[in-house]
Amino acid sequence: MPPPFSWIVAVAKFLYEFIVGDDWTVAAAVFIGLIVSAILNVNHVAAWWLIPVIVVLMLGVSLRRASNRLR
């Protein structure tokens, strides 16, 4: 791959590792949670509780997955 494209790919890989990390499902759950929260809010339904619930649940799921990988 020529230099400008290889640099772009390298930066994109770095940003992905930096922000998303080794478990993309957590980032995906947060992203979907924010979309659902916005939809609930537009429909005048209380939505402040959704992200904290997702954080607690996804941490457990991600930890379980990481533990299983170490076995």
């Binding site: 922000i19 998303v20 957590v26 947060v30 929260s37 809010n41 402040w48 904290p52 607690v56």
Partner: protein, 241 residues
């Protein structure tokens, strides 16, 4: 509005976590290959980080506070959850142990004239790679709280203090309980990330800013629960004596 102390403490602790590894690398390289090239390399690294902070800070200061809090909150939450999870796993596995291990000085001692480019590069790389996360946290957290100056003071203060300890008492830096610090910062970033992301969507928190300590307690209790579960799981995996 996020308090000055919350910004100062969070950015200080986040910077301290990365500064421990940064200082360990720089002191290790300096002690073995010589200080001049190592310090020039470290200073070059800090120059790159300063440019990142200035450019990113200037870019974020142009974004209106509502969308800014949504973007910054979502980024801090996603990023904070990584540290939250790693902190739980490391504290569950190692308790309050420091980073330990051997000094990262694999290269031979430099005795030649002029600049030792190996030492320069090792120090530069150590500062830039470890410092990028700090720069990211300092700028986004400072911008989200509308207190970028305070966030920079917290970040720079941690690097100066940990750096001073590292130069004066080399081995002491390696004994700082980095995993616990990482867990605390992960909880803080996740708390403020959650709060700001929801606020950025235009959703009101019950009790307004009083929701922040409630979230903090919820996430701290979650960490304690998962640490206990991880430890029990690890004990359950051990073969019977």
């Amino acid at each position: 509005m996020t308090g000055l102390w919350a910004v100062l403490i969070t950015t200080f602790l986040a910077s301290a976590v990365e500064a421990i590894e940064m200082v360990t690398i720089v002191v290790g390289v300096g002690a073995t290959r010589g200080w001049r090239s190592t310090l020039v390399g470290a200073a070059s690294g800090f120059g790159v980080l300063a440019v990142v902070v200035i450019v990113l800070g200037a870019a974020l200061s142009r974004v209106p506070i509502g969308p800014l809090r949504l973007i910054v909150g979502a980024l801090l939450l996603t990023f904070g959850l990584q540290w939250f999870r790693k902190g739980i796993m490391r504290v569950a596995a190692r308790g309050l142990a420091g980073i330990g291990g051997q000094d990262p000085h694999e290269a031979a001692e430099w005795t030649g004239p002029g600049m030792d480019w190996t030492a320069w590069f090792l120090a530069f790389k150590g500062v830039v790679l470890e410092g990028l996360e700090v720069a990211f946290i300092v700028v986004t957290f400072g911008a989200g709280a509308n207190q970028l100056g305070v966030a920079v003071i917290g970040g720079v203060g941690a690097i100066i203090i940990v750096g001073g300890i590292g130069l004066a008492l080399h081995q002491t830096v390696r004994r700082i309980p980095r995993s616990l610090l990482q867990l605390i910062v992960g909880i803080l970033l996740s708390t403020f990330g959650t709060f700001w992301a929801i606020e950025g969507l235009g959703i009101d928190w019950p009790g307004g800013d009083a929701a922040i300590p409630v979230l903090l307690v919820l996430y701290a209790l979650t960490a304690l629960t998962y640490i206990m579960l991880e430890r029990n799981r690890a004990l359950g995996l051990r073969p019977a004596a």
